[in-house]
């Protein structure tokens, strides 16, 4: 049942057991919740970092910020991808400047600009300048007594990395569940598709004024589509759609009308598939384009998030149709931004303390439950 503010929602654990009960509103609006989420959500689960095709050669890297953590994702000399905190083992300087996936950097070594400690692509400390080997400025210490640095003990801090096809995920926890476990059937499904054969072609980054979970919830249902995505729903049979819920991900399958060109899509089925992967990643398989997209829903603070929309096609040079296609996708984003920003204005007022979900918002309910689980962990 809907709860207005005069009947405060109870503790999160007991509140949302019923499918129609949403996560209480204060978990969206509370300023303290975002701080908690850094630990319980973004510090615990597998979070998407970027696409392996953007760092194909040894030494190529990009950076990624998740919560407070700033990571370097780099391809090693052995071809494997590693992730490190972008923090020097000497005195904690940030080392490389922010480098987006769309404009990756290339380094044979990772060198800290502060005192020039230098690490290899495995994260091991490889060299320090002379001033760390001799104690010439220290009258109390003989050169022979200077401690030697151990390349492993003074290595960069490693972060867990794993991937699904070309999609690279990182996990900030010391002892995470496996990515296989978190991804479940999504892993097999995505790996059955030739995702790695497609190249990154376009990225659109938008800053949106609402809590990241509001957008995630909106992405997870299509009850709003009829009224708000009028161009898009023309090609879709909403009634034949299916919303499939799994442990940590859900899939919105939309059946296309007959006339969609069968040649023009990466997967065989006669449908578009939108995969939501807890906590903040989606894979978008459109029924009308031979390519796919991803969204990263990155919180900036309680009131804002960034939507990072990436598009992949066989050829990174966009054709006119592909550009038109991205523009359509962009239009959908705008329509959704309007909705979620308006919802956010309402939620922020504090008038509603707990929302009520409809029967086709079971995907949203799953999302809210995962948030609850994380908060209670």
């Amino acid at each position: 049942m809907t709860q207005w503010d005069d009947s405060k929602a109870q503790a999160v654990s007991s509140d949302i057991t019923d499918e129609s009960n949403a996560l209480p509103a204060r978990y969206f609006t509370g300023q303290d919740i975002f701080e908690m989420e850094k630990e319980t959500v973004f510090g615990q689960y597998w979070v998407y970092a970027g696409h392996a095709n953007c760092i194909k050669e040894a030494g190529e890297y990009f950076t990624r910020t998740i919560g407070e953590r700033q990571l370097i994702i780099v391809r090693g000399h052995d071809g494997n991808i590693k992730a490190f905190d972008n923090v020097c083992a000497h005195r904690g300087s940030k080392m490389v400047t922010d480098t987006p996936m769309t404009d990756s950097g290339n380094a044979r070594r990772i060198k800290c600009p502060y005192h020039l400690w230098t690490y290899d692509l495995e994260g091991d400390l490889k060299s320090t300048p002379k001033s760390f080997e001799e104690a010439s400025l220290n009258p109390d210490l003989e050169d022979e007594e200077v401690q030697e640095f151990d390349s492993k003990e003074n290595a960069l801090n490693d972060v867990h990395v794993d991937s699904i096809g070309p999609l690279i995920f990182v996990n900030l926890s010391a002892d995470p569940m496996s990515l296989d476990e978190q991804a479940g059937v999504m892993k097999d499904r995505l790996e059955a598709l030739p995702l790695g054969e497609y190249e990154h072609a376009s990225r659109i980054v938008s800053e949106v004024e609402c809590n990241w979970k509001v957008f995630s919830s909106n992405y997870s249902e299509c009850d709003h589509c009829q009224a708000n995505h009028q161009d898009w729903i023309k090609g879709i049979s909403l009634n034949e759609s299916e919303l499939e819920v799994n442990d940590y991900h859900w899939v919105l399958h939309y059946t296309h009308d007959e006339d969609v060109d069968d040649e023009l899509r990466i997967h065989d089925e006669h449908e578009a598939q939108f995969h939501y992967f807890w906590p903040n990643f989606t894979v978008n398989m459109y029924g009308t384009a031979d390519g796919y997209g991803t969204y990263i829903i990155d919180p900036i603070d309680t009131n804002r998030f960034q939507l990072i929309a990436d598009y992949y096609f066989e050829d990174p040079e966009l054709s006119e149709e592909e550009e038109a296609f991205i523009r359509t996708s962009r239009q959908l984003q705008e329509e959704d931004f309007e909705l979620v920003e308006r919802q956010w204005e309402g939620l922020k007022t504090g008038a509603l303390s707990q929302a009520q979900l409809g029967p086709n918002e079971h995907t949203v309910h799953r999302f809210h439950q995962l948030a609850q689980q994380a908060y209670n962990s």
Partner: protein, 119 residues
């Protein structure tokens, strides 16, 4: 106030006796939003950074934004766009309405709040 210490942006409501001087172009937009919300009045940009406009040759809103993008990394402030479009005869409200139209059609995006880039 002499013209020397005038702030780079001056906006005013022709119906009311309110003026806003600022060095932040987007403050013009915020001023418009506040004022429109309570009065329903459009506002006019009376003055904008002198040579702001010289470099821009385009007339069409989207092309204007595309050209301005060269000078603004990570999106052009909406106030700058409004100031350039004012030279092309559009009021703040008209510019914002046109921006809205274009955005909803997928032609623009907002890499940071109230900053726009053309797709």
């Amino acid at each position: 106030m002499s013209s020397q210490d005038q702030e780079p942006y001056v906006a005013a409501c022709p119906n009311c006796d309110v003026t806003r001087q600022t060095d932040d172009p987007n403050e013009v937009i915020n001023f418009y939003r506040r004022h429109y919300r309570v009065t329903g009045h459009d506002i006019e940009i009376e003055h904008a950074e002198p040579d702001l406009d010289n470099a821009v040759t385009a007339n069409d809103l989207k092309d204007v934004i595309r050209e301005l993008e060269g000078q603004h990394r990570n999106g052009v402030p909406m106030g700058v766009i409004a100031a350039v479009m004012k030279e092309r005869g559009l009021s703040v409200k008209q510019t914002l309405d046109e921006i809205h139209e274009l955005r909803m059609g997928g032609g623009l995006y907002e890499p940071q709040d109230d900053h726009l880039a053309a797709f």
